[in-house]
Symmetry: C4
Subunit: 202 residues, 4 copies
């Protein structure tokens, strides 16, 4: 398989998932006079929608950052990428569940588990690339990977805490999910590796 | 991230949003003999569908016009683009709401607010590009941007008036939304900047 | 706008419409023992699904054939293309309507009207390209266009007859729609213009 | 039609089908206290979701492997590809049916029939390419095709057995579907034809 089609397929899946999220926000069926208050009651759902929108956007950026260093694709990498896409494609379900049952332990846990699994798949892909330097533009040294461990461990640790808090202080779980997202967003916005943008042109 | 994948992702999101709009037009469940009149009652919904279809199409064209002048992408620009896509992706919700509760103040306002936010995000992106000329094909001078202000201010002003009229003369709000759309459509159809079409070939 | 992004957007819309059609085929809610017969009752719906699938596929091929001769894009062409996409994007609605109310005059008429409008938009685009030879790879002579008139007039004529028959012999309308599709499919499958496949490579 | 747009359209359809599958997993409507057990009852549905996700992913990889050897496209090939996409696009329906009526003969059979039809279409395309060597990068000899027969016959044979078992030992049908998938996945992951990845670059 050539890399370009894998990227096109991957971009397609991300674009569809991020857009499908809105379909789960159903129009309320109420008397027009009470529409305003019905919409206000939908605010937790709107929050999880926006959260998931940026989570999917974030994973898409993360996917690209990994892909930039890939020059060749093998069968295993295609399957690892499919697993990654599986956990991303599932996202509308926990989002919808959390919107329907806000501030409940079970949906908060399912949401967090999906985030952790997506994160770990990204880590497995990085490990696989480290071991197969023939697939990489620049070989990934064990040191480079070790340096990235906190970028995987910290979000997952916070997700784990958020899952635990779901049964005790559910609103704090929301705050933690949003904080991880904000942290990663800032991190990604700052790193403007010239390697990235110049690659296709150079 | 390379520009090509950002464009592919962006085009994907626009293509999906514009196509998903039809899913909100549900088949009426009536006795076959009254199907004709049931469909006639759906005309306001059909109007908002067509309006939103061209609104999304318009924003897609606007996005391209901005992208044509971008030669390099940084982290902030990716996030600004994601925010832009968020407001576009949300569009099926106000469209559906307006179709379900036609000629009501609240849905007209939500529809208009989404239009204004999308519009303002486009303006912020232009300002950001003006300040980062290293990302641009041609540097955007403050004068160029000032010349574009009416193109942002007039639509938003009319949207604001349409929102206000939603509680008084809701059908006039519809007319105003459609007028802005028609105005921008004519404007975009006329400008055939040779720079645009020759870029990838030159 | 560059041509490549217009094509990517257009391909995206077609791909989404053709795939969304299946969403309108709802799982029957019956006792498991009667599932078989419930599925048999869905056969007219399955027929309209397959019909629409190939109709959308056909229009996508038609769109490509036109696009192959376009070397430059102007604002009007973008809007004409958007109108074309509008009529294609609408297709899930008449498909779903016809599946829900099979063998009825009104849905058959709406389905046919959408087919005619899509067809006519294709013709308008060809006329526009004839008048703007600067946009074309090869100028379209009035004679070339006149030669294509039957390819537009015959399907539309048959669609018109099918619409009329919808109130008298609805099953014959289905046959006519399927016949036009089969005729165009055979026609497109036969024409293997070398110009087509060699264009990007040459 | 140029090959690139056919691939873009095909990739789009696969990306949408694989992502739409999640839409059929509906949020349960229960009292929050019983949400956990309601979700546990959805496990068979989750199983068919994951199965179909990888089935679609597998067919996408199979499509690419065929496409890599295609250098030119004719009208027949476009239609054969459309038929292939039809059977793939249908997939959300049997998946949803199997999720709603698990361990039942009829849905297991419909699921298997769709898998067999998709598989056979792939075989027909290979036969067509064998007979039209002018369309191929490397001519497919009858011997090469004969060597591939088991790769088509074995899965279809197992699918047929799974269909038959659907009325007797339905859980075994699930196991057989999953086994074929796992077998093909391992096979595809192993074959890392250098021809594949070097094609666009060489």
């Amino acid at each position: 398989m050539n890399k370009q089609r894998l990227e096109a397929f991957t971009d397609g899946v991300y674009a569809i998932v991020i857009t499908l999220l809105i379909l789960d926000i159903r129009i309320p069926e109420v008397h027009p006079a009470t529409l305003g208050s019905a919409l206000v009651r939908m605010l937790p759902q709107a929050f999880t929608y926006v959260l998931s929108f940026f989570v999917v956007g974030l994973y898409w950026i993360a996917n690209h950052r990994v892909a930039l260093n890939v020059k060749q694709i093998d069968g295993t990498l295609i399957w690892l990428n499919l697993v990654w896409l599986l956990f991303v494609s599932v996202m509308p379900f926990p989002t919808s569940l959390l919107g329907r049952y806000p501030l409940q332990g079970v949906p908060i846990a399912i949401y967090g588990v999906d985030l952790i699994l997506t994160n770990l798949t990204g880590l497995f892909i990085s490990i696989y690339l480290m071991k197969h330097r023939e697939l990489c533009v620049r070989a990934i040294s064990p040191q480079t990977l070790r340096d990235q461990i906190p970028a995987y461990a910290i979000p997952n640790g916070v997700y784990g805490i958020a899952i635990g808090l779901g049964w005790i202080l559910p609103w704090l779980s929301y705050v933690l999910y949003a904080l991880v997202l904000a942290g990663l967003a800032v991190r990604f916005a700052r790193i403007n590796n010239p390697f990235q943008s110049s690659r296709r042109r150079g």
